[in-house]
């Protein structure tokens, strides 16, 4: 580790600026998103009409069903629907 003079410390503190808040929040909400994901997929497997609605307009269908259509939930659902 190099000597820590003031300039070096300043450079190293500045080297880690905060990530955008929305990104951090979305990642922090992963457990909630996963829980919602499981419920939505289970319903989509049991309800063909719901599944078609998700495929046709994912965000609008989620919003209509009372889910907030944001990352990472939307990403995970889109990937799952495309793969299945």
């Amino acid at each position: 580790m190099s000597a820590f003079n003031e300039d070096r410390l300043a450079e190293l503190i500045a080297a880690l600026p905060p990530a955008p808040e929305a990104w951090v929040r979305a990642a922090q909400e992963l457990p909630i998103a996963r829980s919602q994901f499981d419920g939505i997929i289970a319903r989509a497997e049991a309800d063909a009409e719901f599944r078609q609605a998700l495929i046709a307009d994912l965000e609008a269908t989620l919003a209509h069903e009372g889910y907030e259509p944001k990352r990472p939930l939307v990403d995970e659902l889109r990937k799952h629907l495309a793969d299945s």
Binding site: L9, L12, A14, L16, A19, V24
Partner: protein
């Protein structure tokens, strides 16, 4: 940025399903992942955001496979590197043939600096809150004396001297710590 528990302790709590621990783990390493993507691999913001979310999604899925909780940082670094490389390669494939291919090679100097910076930020976490705040706001968030003074209810004219005193405390804290091995280049099973 207050850190009263170790990253390894947070990992153990995450594995037990503690959502607060997960939020704290993301907070702890969010700057690190962001810096690797944007400085180490020079990804533009929209790609960096995809990488950021993909990395934490993989961490969440694979936390059980981490054999040593103490290794969370090198594991995360290696995972982030892989996701960045994948992103750059897939981006290159999608580019038109007359576009120059974007290099997937990281800036190793930047990655080394990021690891060292994380040590400094860890040391900052042990400083009194006012020092932590003032250093982070001035250097990492690039706030002016005036903005800092208003936010922390301090006279703007005292900010420079406070920064100087806090840097001395930080240097003392770092010099009292043991050197930590380089992490992002380490080989860790993912």
């Amino acid at each position: 940025m207050a850190e009263t528990v170790s990253a390894a302790q947070l990992v153990a709590r995450c594995r037990e399903g503690d959502e607060d621990a997960w939020a704290a783990l993301v907070e702890r390493f969010s700057r690190y992942v962001y810096a690797i993507a944007t400085q180490g691999f020079r990804l533009p913001q929209h790609d960096a955001e995809d990488v950021f979310q993909e990395v934490f999604a993989k961490v969440y899925e694979r936390l059980d496979s981490l054999r040593n909780d103490e290794a969370i940082q090198p594991w995360l670094a290696q995972l982030t590197r892989r996701v960045c490389v994948d992103r750059l390669r897939s981006g290159s494939r999608e580019e038109a043939t007359d576009e120059p291919e974007q290099a997937a090679d990281p800036d190793e100097d930047a990655l080394a600096r990021i690891d060292e910076a994380l040590d400094v930020h860890d040391a900052m976490a042990a400083l009194p809150e006012n020092c932590r705040e003032i250093l982070d706001r001035f250097f990492a968030r690039d706030e002016t004396y005036r903005t800092i003074g208003e936010a922390l209810e301090l006279p703007a004219g005292t900010i420079a001297s406070r920064i100087s005193r806090c840097l001395v405390k930080l240097r003392d804290a770092l010099e009292g710590r043991k050197a930590v091995p380089t992490r992002s280049g380490g080989q860790v099973s993912v």
